[in-house]
């Protein structure tokens, strides 16, 4: 087990829980979306950490592929969420 | 796979299918609906005739259908089920005629007759049920199909009545269901077997069996209107008269009573029930119900409510008969299933006639109605006298056997007073009606009299059914000892139950 595993794995977990806490507790919709993204990042970090095999070994490509997919999915969701928020505020302005 | 295998199913379907078709009929297609109704009823009668003959000659009619592993839908014709099936089939035929007359020109007839047929199918289904699961299934179906009929008029009272009806019956249904599942998990699949099978279970299960019995009887007691579970019955009287007549006087309450018979005789076995010490409790409740219902009926001015409380009281005779250990009491209970049905349906028909023709809903409005509607009132009188237990109307036979059974079983010290008190109370709430109807001078104007073109006192379709059922009631009493009477059939059932 590598130091990098320790460091990044740990921070991945922490970032994820930070994100989770913020998703649960934050009032602002936008910030919750950001928090979700942060949380996702934490998960991705864990994945990338798993893939890491040391400075000289080729990393496992599968988690990388997974993370790539994950990023795209996350950005899609974020885009939809942001549009929803916008539409909602418009509706409320109209009311 | 032959005709015998499917016959019980056909009996159920013969009313179910016309019912389902009727839902989709246009309100105006009166004739087609009538044709469907009548042909269904007659076909059913025919099929039931075949079954009756066969069961008498020890043929086996059984439809099986697997619902899930270990859960089978079984329709099985035995003597007991045939008794109930005949009752509901014959009365359905009569009631259909009555209902056609009663609901003439009223809205939503397609819906009404649709549900009506479904109700009858459910009743027949639970009569033919060959195991507890099937029974529960049709039992609940009956609840459901009755609800729209009670709520039919859509007035706030009707809705309220329907709500109360449901609250009671569904609660009962849930209890019954729970008990059934519990029993199933202990004893496996529970077919109705004459004499019951549970006595073979290990004694460790006996406490559980007691609780299950309690659950099931409570569940069935709701429909059988055992006090204190009877509250729905008077409320459900807001339904149109044919509904009160067939369903509340016969199908629904009988379903409960029939269920109690099944549970006691064919699931637990009456001796085993007695061993568990459960019969006495049931008997006491039945006795309380008999008295309570009669006392309540005394103070009802609303005719249908009075009849409803009378039903509460009368149906418990069946339960009482069950609790009387020994074949004679059993005969009394079982035969009362039929007798009470025929008599009470007569009463409800006539009550409906009064309401429909003259707008009479209250006992206090009935002064002299015998002069205006003699035939109807005659039928009413016959029903009422039968309820009191005066021969030759059928009621006396039941009472006779109940009392006799209690003597045999050594229970006379409390059963007889109950019977006597109840008979007197019956007289006390029926005879004043007869007095009013026959001997008092009519009021100058009826509450809301319909101008009828008919030759008779009311429409023929309303008049004949009660007369027919009244004749049936008398016949059942007069020819009680003849080979095809309900009494003889009840004796046959009892002989088979007790293995005599």
């Amino acid at each position: 087990m590598l130091t990098a595993h320790w460091l990044y794995g740990l921070s991945g977990c922490l970032i994820m829980t930070f994100g989770l806490r913020a998703v649960l507790l934050n009032d602002s919709l936008l910030q919750r979306i950001i928090a979700l993204n942060v949380m996702g990042t934490g998960v991705f970090m864990i994945l990338i950490t798993i893939a890491y095999r040391g400075p000289d070994a080729a990393p496992d490509p599968i988690p990388h592929a997974l993370v790539l997919t994950g990023i795209v999915v996350a950005v899609s969701a974020t885009a939809l969420a942001l549009t929803l928020i916008r539409r909602l505020t418009e509706e409320q302005d109209n009311d | 796979m032959n005709f015998d295998t499917w016959l019980p199913l056909f009996v159920v379907l013969s009313s179910l299918l016309p019912g389902l078709v009727m839902f989709f009929l246009d309100e105006g297609s009166h004739r087609l609906r009538t044709v469907l109704n009548m042909s269904g009823a007659l076909l059913k009668l025919l099929l039931v005739g075949v079954i009756t003959w066969g069961v008498f000659h020890q043929h086996i009619y059984e439809t099986r259908w697997t619902l899930a592993p270990g859960l089978e839908l079984v329709l099985h014709a035995d003597t007991l089920s045939v008794l109930f099936v005949i009752l509901s089939t014959v009365l359905w035929l009569v009631t259909t005629v009555y209902a056609i007359g009663y609901l003439e020109k009223s809205p939503h007839r397609s819906r009404f007759f649709g549900f009506f047929s479904v109700c009858v199918s459910a009743t027949v289904g639970l009569a033919l049920a060959g195991n507890l699961l099937t029974f529960v299934l049709f039992y609940e179906l009956l609840t459901l199909a009755t609800y729209p009929l009670v709520a039919h008029r859509g007035t706030p009272e009707a809705l309220r009545g329907a709500r109360i009806y449901l609250a009671y019956t569904l609660t009962g249904g849930v209890l019954l269901f729970t008990g059934t599942v519990w029993l199933h998990s202990i004893a496996g699949s529970i077919a109705f077997v004459e004499g019951g099978t549970l006595n073979q279970l290990h004694a460790d299960y006996h406490p559980q069996l007691k609780v299950i019995f309690l659950l099931m009887i409570t569940g069935l007691g709701v429909k059988a209107a055992l006090v204190p579970l009877h509250g729905w019955l008077p409320q459900a009287m807001v339904a149109p008269a044919p509904v009160s007549a067939l369903l509340h006087a016969v199908a629904v309450v009988k379903a409960g009573a029939f269920g109690i018979i099944r549970v006691v005789y064919d699931v637990y076995g009456v001796e085993f029930t007695h061993e568990l010490g459960l019969l006495t409790g049931l008997g006491i409740i039945a006795a309380i119900t008999i008295i309570y219902g009669s006392v309540k009926a005394l103070s009802q001015d609303n005719l249908k409510k009075r009849l409803a409380y009378s039903t509460v009281s009368q149906v418990s005779y069946i339960a009482l008969g069950i609790t009387i250990l020994g074949p004679i009491g059993t005969i009394g209970g079982i035969v009362h299933l039929v007798h009470q049905g025929v008599m009470k349906i007569t009463l409800f028909f006539t009550a409906g006639n009064y309401a429909e023709t003259l707008g009479i809903h209250k006992v206090s409005e009935m002064d002299g109605v015998g002069q205006r509607m003699p035939a109807t009132t005659l039928a009413f009188s016959i029903g009422a006298l039968g309820m009191i237990g005066i021969p030759p109307v059928a009621g006396y036979v039941s009472k006779w056997y109940l009392a006799l059974g209690s003597l045999e079983a050594g229970m006379a010290w409390w059963v007889m007073p109950v019977l006597v008190t109840s008979s007197l109370l019956n007289a006390a709430y029926f005879l004043p009606i007869l007095y009013r109807a026959w001997f008092k001078q009519p009021a100058t104007k009826w509450p809301s009299e319909k101008i009828l073109p008919a030759r008779f006192e009311t429409q023929a379709a309303l008049l004949w059914p009660p007369l027919i059922t009244a004749v049936l009631a008398i016949a059942a009493g007069m020819f009680a000892a003849s080979p095809y009477s309900p009494l003889e059939w009840a004796s046959l059932i009892t002989r088979r139950e007790y293995g005599l």
Partner: protein
């Protein structure tokens, strides 16, 4: 034959693209796709019944490296249910959105939802499941937001956030699994998984994520507004299928893949939550003022029943009793799916005709819309669990399992829940039967009324009387 699996995913996807490209022919495309997919699902069901588990390795790569599609009895049944519900809802929607400009937006999303559902039910790969979950979530949110009103948007947004959070937690669990076992393939995983912190925490993460999406009490808060404000066909599918899909995953994980890992204590957690859901959901449904909210809360309650099975299935030893209970669980889920979709479709009709769905003001509905009221009644029967509905059999087995496992508490919960369900169902019907002047010849659109009726009837009569094959099919498992 085996291509059925991929076609179940590919066809809706292809049609989604086609409807986007050719909006003019959208309805025809959707209906034909719906029919074809239903036939597909039926074919799969038949194939599973006759040939056992179906496996399809996409790209020809062995499972693990590639992604495999798998169908066993459970997934085939759920696929079939999805097909039925979606077929009916599609027909319904074609009338519902008759002239509405929204239909152009609706159809592609609708088909994408279908595609994602099928993909999810067939997927044999954990990460692929994550992707399908997201696809499902996003398409569901997009559909739910079509309601357009502030409430719908609000609900959709909440739904989206919850969905995202749920899938993220699921992904975290998947990550742990990959870290611990180096595989994403479900079949491989079920072989190698062992009790320990990795399995526990991965299962916990995935479960919490899925439960969020499944709306198990107390994570149900998002469901009533989302299901209550979406357009009717969408609500139908959301309540009937979308939550079911995630529930299917929970089931897969707990009862199948991680069954060795789960302890009785752990299994009692979903049980307790399920019990709470039953009581709370039913109670809220009883107090709801709008039909749709009622239906939505009823979903919360009904999902609770499904979770009641978990402690029981855990407690029962493998054998006939457990198989029976398992069948009960599935048939309960299937019945609820069909019934609830029927209910929502029916509510949609009422809403369209009368312009509202306030329960208090439903008087005369039975007169005006008899078939619709009948559909509501039928689905109500299934929701209560009265015979002859499939839910009756489900509850039977639930109770039976509770009795055999000696876990009496659930019995009480089930009884109370049933009564509450009856209360809320008949509260609606009571109002519907109320008196009101009514037109003699009510306006009926067959395409709208029939799907609701058929779905409810299927749930109430079809599954109840012809539900035995479910148990047969469930014997075919991974």
């Amino acid at each position: 034959m085996i291509d059925t699996l991929i076609w179940l995913v590919a066809l809706p996807l292809a049609s989604a693209l086609a409807t986007q490209l050719l909006p003019r022919y959208a309805t025809a495309i959707v209906i034909s796709t719906a029919i074809a997919t239903s036939i597909n699902a039926a074919a799969l069901l038949y194939a599973v019944a006759t040939h056992g588990v179906m496996l399809y390795q996409i790209g020809g790569w062995t499972a693990g490296l590639g992604i495999a599609l798998r169908a066993d009895g459970l997934s085939a049944l759920l696929l079939m249910m999805a097909a039925i519900v979606l077929l009916a809802s599609s027909i319904y929607a074609s009338a519902y959105f008759n002239d509405n400009p929204l239909r152009r937006r609706f159809w592609p999303l609708w088909l994408l939802l279908w595609c994602s559902l099928n993909a999810l039910l067939l997927s044999g790969d954990l990460f692929n499941l994550y992707v399908t979950l997201e696809l499902l979530g996003l398409s569901a949110v997009a559909l739910a937001s079509l309601g357009g009103k502030t409430a719908a948007l609000q609900a959709a947004l909440r739904y989206l956030l919850v969905g995202l959070l749920g899938s993220m937690l699921f992904l975290a669990g998947v990550t742990l699994i990959y870290a611990g076992y180096g595989t994403l393939d479900l079949a491989t995983l079920s072989r190698v998984v062992a009790a320990g912190p990795i399995a526990w925490s991965a299962l916990a993460l995935m479960t919490v994520g899925l439960l969020l999406k499944t709306a198990l009490f107390p994570l149900h808060f998002w469901l009533p507004p989302a299901h209550g404000s979406a357009p009717a066909p969408v609500s139908a599918v959301l309540s009937a299928l979308v939550v079911k899909a995630t529930f299917y995953l929970v089931m897969r994980l707990w009862l199948d893949i991680f069954s060795e890992v789960v302890t009785p204590q752990a299994a009692s957690i979903p049980g307790v939550l399920g019990a709470a859901a039953v009581l709370w959901g039913s109670w809220q449904a009883l107090r709801a003022e709008r039909l749709k909210l009622l239906a939505a809360y009823s979903t919360v309650a009904q999902l609770g029943y499904l979770f009641l099975f978990f402690p029981l299935l855990q407690a029962l030893p493998a054998g006939a009793a457990r198989d029976a209970a398992m069948g009960g669980l599935v048939i309960l889920a299937l019945t609820h799916g069909l019934a609830k979709s029927g209910l929502f479709l029916a509510i949609g009709i009422i809403q369209q005709r009368s312009g509202h769905d306030t329960i208090r003001d439903l008087d005369g509905t039975a007169q005006r819309l008899p078939a619709t009221t009948f559909a509501i009644a039928l689905s109500g029967i299934a929701l209560i669990g009265l015979p002859p509905s499939g839910a009756f059999l489900g509850k039977w087995h639930l109770l039976a399992a509770a009795f055999s496992a000696g876990q009496w508490l659930w019995v009480v919960v089930i009884m109370i829940g049933t009564l509450l369900a009856a209360a809320y169902t008949f509260r609606v019907l009571g109002h519907a039967f109320g008196q009101q002047p009514y037109p003699r010849h009510p306006v009926t659109i067959a395409a709208e009324e029939w799907p609701a009726l058929i779905l409810s009837a299927f749930a109430t009569i079809g599954l109840g009387l012809a539900g035995a094959p479910v148990w047969q099919l469930l014997k075919v498992s991974l």
